[in-house]
């Protein structure tokens, strides 16, 4: 069922409100599988406190907006990541932190590591921070960058 937008309302206004809403309340899935997860933890906690911008952790995939890929993707964990991604409701975003999910990082050439998360999830990440692991500032920057990209409308349109 589709609803028509009432007269006198500019669809662009609705879109900009929606993008503000989506960008200001990004809940990341609590899913740690790498060194970078400790830095995500540090980013969530007092010194850096990414909750200032409304970025909070969610425990179950049903309530999450962002999957933060934060570690090496072993072959054993691939089905789990795919499943968690499928369980997340749209609109959902992928942030890649550190070299491991993007290229295998220090584990290139290993028999058990999938080197590129794009092969696993078939989505383009919204932001990527190089580092092994990056500072918590970098993680905050990635979230802000995702927020900006949602605002621009260049990523994650409804």
């Amino acid at each position: 069922m589709t609803r028509e937008i009432p007269e006198g309302v500019n669809p662009k206004d609705i879109e900009s409100v929606l993008s503000w809403v989506k960008g200001s309340s990004l809940w990341n899935l609590h899913f740690c599988f790498g060194c970078c997860s400790t830095e995500i933890m540090a980013a969530m906690m007092p010194r850096f406190d990414i909750e200032r911008f409304g970025f909070a952790p969610a425990d179950t995939p049903r309530q999450a907006d962002v999957l933060v890929a934060n570690g090496p993707i072993s072959r054993k964990i691939v089905p789990r990541i795919q499943r968690l991604w499928a369980q997340m409701p749209d609109p959902k975003y992928l942030i890649v932190i550190g070299a491991c999910p993007m290229s295998g990082g220090p584990y290139q050439g290993s028999y058990n590591i999938v080197t590129d998360i794009r092969d696993v999830l078939n989505v383009e990440p919204a932001a990527f921070i190089p580092g092994c692991p990056p500072n918590p500032e970098g993680i905050l920057e990635a979230f802000i960058m995702l927020k900006n990209r949602i605002k621009e409308g260049s990523y994650g349109k409804l």
Binding site: S103, P106, Q108, P130, G131, E141
Partner: protein
């Protein structure tokens, strides 16, 4: 009664100033030893390629005699710095560097000059083919 003291601690904390550094608006002091980008002194570089050979992650590739870096791969361990016989390659910390789009072309770059300025920024990056596996 052991409950009272923890409650008092939290009550006291309620009225303290938070320890948060409001990051994009203020910065903490970062040690000069923190590494997150390479610089290269092109005058002293001897084109030996030991940095590229020692790099465990295949970050550095020799292009036109100078190492170039692909930051999708880098772990910022500094082994290339250790290995350089002339000390031409160094690693420094740049705050905004972390904000790079997940665009392969933007992540592949010529190494910076020693003063942190980009080298030859106009030239379009030409991503060389990466091979999986370690040599």
């Amino acid at each position: 009664m052991g409950l009272i003291k923890p409650l008092l601690y939290t009550l006291k904390e309620l009225f303290k100033r938070p320890v948060t550094v409001k990051y994009p608006y203020e910065h903490r002091d970062i040690s000069p030893r923190v590494r997150n980008i390479h610089t290269l002194n092109r005058d002293t570089c001897q084109h030996c390629g030991i940095c590229a050979r020692m790099c465990p992650n295949n970050v550095l590739k020799m292009v036109d005699g100078y190492p170039t870096a692909d930051y999708r791969y880098c772990s910022f361990c500094g082994i290339c710095v250790d290995a350089c016989p002339t000390g031409s390659i160094q690693m420094i910390h740049v705050q905004e560097h972390a904000l790079v789009r997940a665009n392969d072309k933007e992540l592949y770059m010529e190494l910076l000059n020693p003063d942190g300025t980009p080298y030859n920024p106009d030239a379009p990056a030409d991503v060389p083919e990466q091979e999986g596996g370690v040599f």
